[in-house]
């Protein structure tokens, strides 16, 4: 749970039909796994795209970088989405 009370982020994988593997469709927010599955269905299969859905807490994914063999990746970002929050800017800053 984030301090702001925001629902955690989940990554959504959808298998569009039998015989195919699940592919990453995007992400959603939900308080728990049950609601995450429901939200994923409502958001990512509105047009009947999916036959099977996986949801994974984004915080549970450990990622490598395609460029990891060379130094051109950000070593701080071992989670998929949690870049250190550089974004906390004071109110008086305009036109960021």
């Amino acid at each position: 749970m984030s301090s702001s009370g925001e629902w955690p982020l989940w990554e959504v994988f959808v298998r569009s039909r039998r015989g195919l593997s699940h592919t990453h469709a995007g992400s959603i927010h939900a308080a728990d796994a049950t609601m995450a599955l429901r939200n994923a269905r409502d958001v990512y299969t509105r047009r009947g795209e999916g036959s099977s859905i996986w949801v994974v807490p984004a915080s549970a994914i450990t990622a490598s970088s395609p460029d990891e063999k060379d130094p051109f990746f950000d070593p701080a970002a071992d989670k998929v989405y949690r870049h250190p929050t550089f974004y906390d800017i004071p109110d008086e800053v305009r036109n960021l």
């Binding site: 927010h29 609601m35 429901r38 939200n39 409502d42 958001v43 509105r46």
Partner: protein, 252 residues
């Protein structure tokens, strides 16, 4: 009543229920507690509207007076609508809306399961498709009832208040009248009384798990099936119908 009249009445009742509840749920658009929930509520509203359109079209066809879905939705007066009172209740807060969803979708699911065996083949076909949709609506309501009932003190209080507010309007769902009696006799629809035990058991189980109290059966308002609605329903129709009625005969 002739058989056709009974079939028409059954289609119209369930059609009006869907039309009106869909309208209420659509009022949530851009107002839901979270974006994901905005999408979910609209999915339910769209399912219900789709069911209503098929049912109203069917009712119009059986009636044989040349009325289509739009004539029935936009050109009938308040006293001609035969939806139940529960579905026309105003949304209130999210707790009230979820309470209405739980009570209605539990009832509708039981009704549809019975209607899949209807001697009216259109009703049976609509029911077979809608049963899957409504099972999902009911699960949505169930999940939220658990979370609001057993979430925080505030959510528990609001969910209980919503339940108390919507509860009296559930008695009407199980009423018998001339239409339901004929429907049973002709194999068109189920005996409402027979739907009651399943509804009671399903609702009680959810309420218990959600740490909510089943409200007492006291006041039991009725009249929707005879076109006697609550005051706010006229406002709903005024809003829904005004544009269509302002341009008689126009196509949209």
């Amino acid at each position: 009543m002739t058989e056709v009249e009974v079939r028409t009445a059954c289609a119209l009742r369930l059609g009006d229920d869907g039309l009106v509840l869909s309208h209420r749920l659509a009022e949530w658009a851009s107002r839901a507690p979270e974006l994901e929930e905005d999408v979910a509520l609209t999915n339910i509203a769209l399912d219900l509207l789709g069911q209503a359109r098929t049912l109203l079209t069917h009712a119009g066809g059986l009636e044989g007076r040349g009325r289509d879905e739009n004539d029935l939705a936009y050109l009938r007066e308040e006293r001609d609508f035969v939806n139940c009172l529960l579905v026309e209740q105003e949304n209130g807060d999210f707790g009230s809306t979820i309470a209405r969803q739980l009570l209605w979708s539990t009832y509708q699911l039981g009704l549809l399961e019975a209607l899949t065996r209807s001697t009216d083949s259109t009703l049976a076909a609509v029911a077979a498709k809608a049963v899957k949709e409504v099972a999902y609506h009911r699960d949505h309501a169930l999940q939220w009832t658990l979370r609001l009932g057993d979430g925080t003190e505030e959510s528990h209080r609001r969910m209980q208040a919503g339940l108390d507010r919507m509860w009296p309007f559930t008695a009407e769902l199980f009423e018998r009248d001339g239409v339901t009696a004929e429907a049973v006799a002709l194999g068109i629809g189920p005996d409402p009384d027979g739907l009651r035990p399943g509804w009671d058991a399903a609702v009680d189980a959810v309420l218990t798990e959600a740490t909510l109290r089943r409200p007492a059966d006291t006041w039991a308002p009725t009249g929707g099936r005879r076109g006697l609605h609550t005051e706010r329903f006229g406002h709903l129709l005024a809003e829904m119908q005004h544009l269509h009625r302002s341009h008689p005969g126009a196509r949209w």
